[in-house]
Amino acid sequence: MYFLKELSHTVQLHPMYFGPRMHEYVEMRLRAEVEGSCSGRYGYVVAVLHLSKMSRGRVLPNIGLADLHARYTAVVFKPFKGEVVDGIVTTVNKMGFFADVGPLQVFVSTHLIPADLNYDPNGDQPCYTSEDQLIQKGSLIRLKIVGTRMDATEIFAIGTIKEDYLGVISQ
C-alpha cells in the first residue's frame, strides 16, 4: 500500500555549505539520502513531496560538521501480509513465478498456484496454463501477499493466487 507519511531525517553538513543557499543544499541532500531508501519500519521511501520543518542546525563538537533535522512528507510504499495487489509477471520457472509490484518482488510458488494451472516449459517462453488462464512473462496478475521479508535494502514477499478472485487480470 502507498502512504503519505511524515518522516524525519538528519543531514550532516560540512562547514563549506554554511551560507545563504544552505537550506536549498540541505533539501537536495535530504532527497539524495532518503529517496529510494528502504527500511523494515517504513518500507520504500519513493519521493519527498515537501519539507515541513527544518531545525536551525547544531555544530557538532570536535568535528565541525553541523546536524540539521528535517521533517518531510513523503510517498512511501510498504507491503503488508494479507494485502491484495496487482503486479506484472517477470520470470516463470518450474518452481513458480516472480511478479513485480512497483519496487517489490513477489514470488508465487507452485504450491500457491491453483492445481488446474500446469507448468508448460515447451513453447517460446515458459508459462502456466489452464483452460481459461495463461501466466507468462508480462501477464498482469492479481495476488495476495502471504508473507514479507525485510532486507537492508530490499523487501521480498511471498504471494498466493490460490484463492477466489485472484489470478490473471483480464482486460
Partner: protein, 170 residues
C-alpha cells in the same frame, strides 16, 4: 537505513530557542516506541484484520491513481532540473507500476472517487484498496478485503462499487 531519528530529535529540540510545545510532545511519543524497535521486537501485522502496525494504522493511504498523479508532477520537475538520469530506480519502478495500474481517467476522476469512498467512512486502508482493486460485486470485494465485512453491509457496498466503477477508465 533507518530514517527516523525522532529520539535524538526530541532531546535536541529542547536546545532550540523556540520549539513549539506540541512538536516536542509529538516527538516524545516515538522516542518510547523506538526502544521497542531497537530491541528487535517485530510487530505482528495483518492487513486482513487492519493491523498495519503503530506507524501505519492511522496513516493516510493513497490510491495507485493518486500516486501516479503526485509522482507525475515530481517527475516533470526533476527531469527539467536534472535530467532523466536523476530519477532513481525505485521511483521509476513505482511510476511504471502506477501508470500501468492507474484505474481512473484523470485528476477529476480520482478526486471524485476519493470523495465517494470518504463518504462511506471506511478505514483509510479499505478505502484505498476498494479504489485500487475496482471490484465488481460485494462478494469479490469482501473476499479481497476481508475486513470490509465488519464495516459495511452488502447493499451500501454495492452502491459504492457501482459508483467507483462509473469513474473507471474505459
Amino acid at each position: 537505513m533507518d530514517v527516523d531519528y525522532s529520539a535524538e530529535f526530541a532531546s535536541d529540540g529542547s536546545l532550540l530557542p523556540a520549539p513549539s510545545a506540541s512538536a516536542a510532545a509529538e516527538d516524545a511519543v516515538p522516542a518510547t516506541q523506538q526502544k521497542k524497535f531497537r530491541r528487535g521486537r517485530v510487530e505482528d501485522t495483518d492487513a486482513a484484520v487492519l493491523q498495519l502496525g503503530e506507524d501505519f494504522n492511522s496513516a493516510e493511504c493513497l490510491f495507485v491513481t493518486e500516486v501516479q498523479l503526485l509522482l507525475r508532477d515530481v517527475r516533470q520537475k526533476k527531469i527539467q532540473q536534472m535530467g532523466e538520469k536523476s530519477l532513481g530506480g525505485v521511483f521509476q519502478k513505482v511510476y511504471a507500476h502506477a501508470e500501468q495500474f492507474s484505474r481512473f481517467k484523470d485528476d477529476h476522476g480520482a478526486q471524485e472517487v476519493r470523495r465517494t469512498v470518504n463518504r462511506a467512512q471506511l478505514a483509510p486502508f479499505e478505502a484505498a484498496q476498494l479504489a485500487n482493486l475496482c471490484c465488481e460485486d460485494p462478494d469479490e470485494a469482501k473476499s479481497l478485503i476481508p475486513s470490509l465485512a465488519m464495516h459495511i453491509d452488502d447493499e451500501r457496498l454495492q452502491t459504492l462499487l457501482t459508483e467507483i466503477q462509473s469513474f473507471k477508465k474505459s
